[in-house]
């Protein structure tokens, strides 16, 4: 063995190299505060390895990016873990960067003769942030798509060449294939290469000047190997553990619904860019994206010179604490504003619903060559929610919201439709107090109509007791997919109540010739009944001339037959949440 090593050393000089690498003197002894640089190197190493492994399954194009990430996340054995480690290590890197930077600042290790290395470090920070920014887009989900739209619009703020630069980065005017290929080339090629080059320079300069130690030295001098390396290793292990715990806890990195320019989503960047996002609410984008960063950059650039005096050094440390505190404050504001904003919460939940739904369909039916975005666009359940939100929700509600979870600002002026025609729903319908409440007809002319004033209100206690039975009958007519049908016997008995005991038949027909003055209840709540009703509530079978503002969606071509069917199927598909 030693013969072989001798030979190798003779040909390569490896012993000298190893010796130089490991026996770096650590003045004042190994310390925990020196571990951050090694942790960052370890984190970057993890990113290169996991990133390359992800690359083996990733396909950068508008039709395949989300799809291949879906494959990694849900199909590849352990793919979710690999992606989770890459995702959370990226976040850990940001935290480590701040720790490393603050340690260097506080110890004064940025001052002469280490100015150049300080600038290398700042450049490394910029490249790392650029890696995060470009990586955010690659899954091509709603979050990445809309956030990147904002980020690339900021590029246009650069004076003179901004708009041109934006086109070069985006790969044109619209976001598409070329945006992903370009971002991917940046993320997996140009930026890592730059980072490696800068790290080599950073470590070379660090070795050239050695560890900066405050006098008097806390302990006896020691060597990098093994004292400091042990500490570094333990710290790296802690980082690794934290990342693994985050990955397991959150079951990997999130994957939103596929990017869709016609499906709006409130853009939010990754948490460590939230301060910039929040800043843009207060200052013009030109200030936020150009002036302030340049001014701060210049100040940071000259910090090694400012720090040459004691006061200057204190100023520098104060500056970084203020910058951190300011960023933390803005980040907190951004989070708390979003938490208070009910519609933002609804938008996030809606995106989560879409993400779950598209995965469900993809797992069931597979993804067509046109991409996963068409799965959602064609999905009847998704379309049902969207049609309801767009067409019905300004008057009706679904579980109190617009069908997708957004609160509606207009007052409710027509019945709640979640669980329409279910036993619960019809039972409440036939209760006077509910009938005249805004949840049913309180916002309509029917509040003062015959059914309310002359029927439900006038029934005596005995008759009122029978109403739930009629409700049961009506609900049974609807043949809802989630309700068991009644037995023939029971239905007969309830029909007797409808015909004789309460004489509903005087106004409402069921399976009889259309004589009644009130809506025909034959096949009430069935798919066909609902389609006919939405098609034209002014038909004499339904409200006739008494119709109060309900549009004739089919007759007036406000909705196509297919759209009416979709919204009806959607309403009938699930019971109300309660």
């Amino acid at each position: 063995m030693s013969k072989f090593l001798d030979w190798l050393d003779n040909r390569s000089g490896i012993r000298g190299l190893v010796k130089e690498a490991l026996y770096e003197k650590v003045p004042g002894g190994a310390r925990w505060r020196y571990v951050w640089g090694s942790c960052l190197t370890f984190a970057f190493f993890t990113q290169v390895v996991t990133g390359t492994l992800l690359w083996m399954s990733y396909s950068p194009s508008a039709q395949t990016a989300w799809e291949s990430v879906y494959f990694i996340q849900y199909e590849i054995w352990g793919g979710w873990f690999l992606r989770g480690v890459h995702h959370y290590m990226a976040q850990a890197m940001i935290v480590l960067l701040v720790l490393h930077l603050m340690q260097v600042m506080i110890d004064g290790a940025y001052r002469a003769p280490r100015e150049l290395n300080f600038w290398f470090g700042i450049a490394l920070m910029g490249v790392t942030l650029a890696l995060s920014l470009t990586g955010y887009l690659l899954p091509w989900d709603q979050k990445g798509f809309w956030a990147t739209a904002v980020a690339t619009n900021l590029i246009a703020e650069v004076p003179l060449i901004g708009p041109m630069l934006q086109k070069i980065v985006v790969g044109g005017v619209e976001y598409g294939h070329q945006t992903i290929t370009r971002f991917f080339a940046l993320h997996a090629g140009i930026l890592p290469a730059a980072l490696i080059g800068l790290v080599v320079g950073h470590i070379y300069l660090f070795r050239k000047h050695g560890i900066h130690v405050k006098e008097p030295r806390p302990k006896k001098d020691s060597y990098f190997w093994p004292d400091q390396i042990l500490k570094d290793g333990v710290a790296c292990l802690a980082v690794l553990l934290a990342v693994v715990i985050l990955t397991l806890y959150f079951k990997g990195a999130p994957l939103g619904p596929p990017a869709d320019p016609s499906n709006e989503f409130p853009a939010r960047p990754e948490w460590y860019f939230l301060f910039l996002f929040q800043l843009l609410k207060y200052v013009p984008a030109f200030w936020g994206a150009v002036i302030i960063p340049i001014a701060l950059g210049l100040l940071i650039f000259i910090q090694p010179f400012i720090g040459s005096s004691r006061k200057g050094h204190q100023f520098n440390i104060g500056f970084w604490w203020c910058l951190l505190a300011g960023s933390a404050g803005l980040t907190f504001l951004a989070f708390s504003e979003d938490r208070e904003n009910l519609n933002h919460g609804a938008a996030v939940r809606e995106a989560e619903w879409q993400a779950e739904r598209v995965v469900e369909i993809a797992q069931e039916d597979g993804i067509p060559p046109t991409g996963a975005v068409t799965l959602l666009r064609q999905d009847r359940e998704n379309r049902g929610r969207r049609i309801f939100a767009a067409q019905c929700s300004s008057c009706h509600r679904y579980n109190g919201h617009d069908g997708r979870g957004y609160l509606v600002e207009d007052d409710q002026s027509a019945p709640e439709l979640a669980g329409f025609a279910s036993v619960d729903w019809t039972t409440k319908l036939l209760n006077y107090d509910h009938y005249i409440s805004p949840e049913y007809f309180g916002g309509t002319a029917f509040k003062e109509g015959t059914m309310a004033k002359k029927v439900l209100k006038k029934f005596d206690a005995e008759e009122t007791k029978l109403l739930p039975q009629v409700a049961l009958l009506l609900s049974d007519l609807a043949k809802l997919p989630y309700q068991e049908p009644l037995s023939e016997e029971k239905r007969e008995r309830l029909m007797d109540v409808f015909y004789d005991d309460l004489a509903c038949i005087d106004c409402h027909d069921i399976d009889s010739e259309g004589e009644g003055s009130a809506p025909d209840l034959t096949g009430y709540g069935t798919r066909k009944w609902m389609i006919d009703f939405i098609n034209n509530p002014e038909h004499e079978r339904f409200y006739g001339k008494k119709n109060d503002r309900m549009p004739a969606y089919g007759r007036d071509k406000k909705l196509s037959t297919e759209e009416i069917e979709i919204v009806v199927d959607w309403i009938r598909s699930t019971p109300a949440d309660l």
């Binding site: 508008a62 039709q63 809309w146 739209a149 904002v150 619009n153 900021l154 246009a156 703020e157 708009p163 041109m164 086109k167 070069i168 985006v170 790969g171 044109g172 005017v173 619209e174 598409g176 294939h177 070329q178 869709d260 320019p261 016609s262 709006e264 989503f265 409130p266 853009a267 939010r268 996002f277 843009l280 609410k281 207060y282 200052v283 013009p284 984008a285 030109f286 904003n341 519609n343 933002h344 938008a347 666009r377 767009a390 300004s394 509606v408 600002e409 207009d410 007036d556 071509k557 406000k558």
Partner: protein, 192 residues
């Protein structure tokens, strides 16, 4: 280099006897090396810049798109949101047919129809219509716009009002020329 003999042997070379020709050799060496080093970058330069020269369109080329029947628009000026579906969209090597590319808010008062691109002119988030306050609101950086599209709140970061689209009514349908504009400048310059 520190070896004086080596230095001498270099200057003894027949090509470099006077300082002038030596400078020429150095300049040529730097030139040739630089050309070799820069060549791969130069080879890719046009490809990288391709998006800048491509797609030079104008408003006249933007097609009219049928969006909705007039009957779907309430007469009271309350806006409704509609998807814009273009018959054909090219994205690099893919041509999509009938694909949604964005959305607009359309409102109507009598025969007058006004349509806004959903995208906030600040940085491109999608604005929401708020019926309580009867205005448009951007959920990203809090810009607010009136029903006529103008910026209503002095604190709004948007430098201009919502972008109006060219509209016309034909055969009882609303037609729109869907266009994107350069974000975050006071002027309305079409993106192309």
């Amino acid at each position: 280099m520190s070896d004086p003999k080596a230095k001498k042997s270099l200057s003894d070379d027949s090509c470099c006897q006077d300082g002038k020709s030596r400078r020429l050799v150095i300049a040529s060496t730097i030139g040739v090396s630089a050309a070799c080093a820069l060549f791969p970058f130069a080879a890719g330069l046009t490809s990288i810049l391709d998006p800048v020269v491509r797609n030079s369109g104008s408003t006249a080329k933007v097609p009219w798109t049928r969006v909705t029947s007039v009957i779907n628009l309430p007469d009271d000026g309350k806006p409704a949101k509609f998807e814009i579906i273009l018959a054909e969209v090219k994205d690099a090597w893919t041509t999509y047919k009938n694909v949604p590319v964005g959305a607009v808010y359309i409102s109507r008062k009598g025969d007058e129809v006004i349509a806004f691109n959903l995208k906030c002119p600040h940085l491109g988030c999608a604005v929401d219509y708020r019926s309580k306050t009867n205005d448009y609101f951007c959920p990203c950086h809090n810009s607010t716009f009136g029903l006529d599209g103008s910026v209503t709140d002095a604190n709004s970061p948007s430098p201009r009002g919502l972008d109006t689209m060219h509209t016309k009514i034909e055969d009882k349908f609303v037609w729109i020329r869907f266009q994107q504009y350069r974000p975050n400048i006071a002027e309305k310059i079409p993106l192309s």
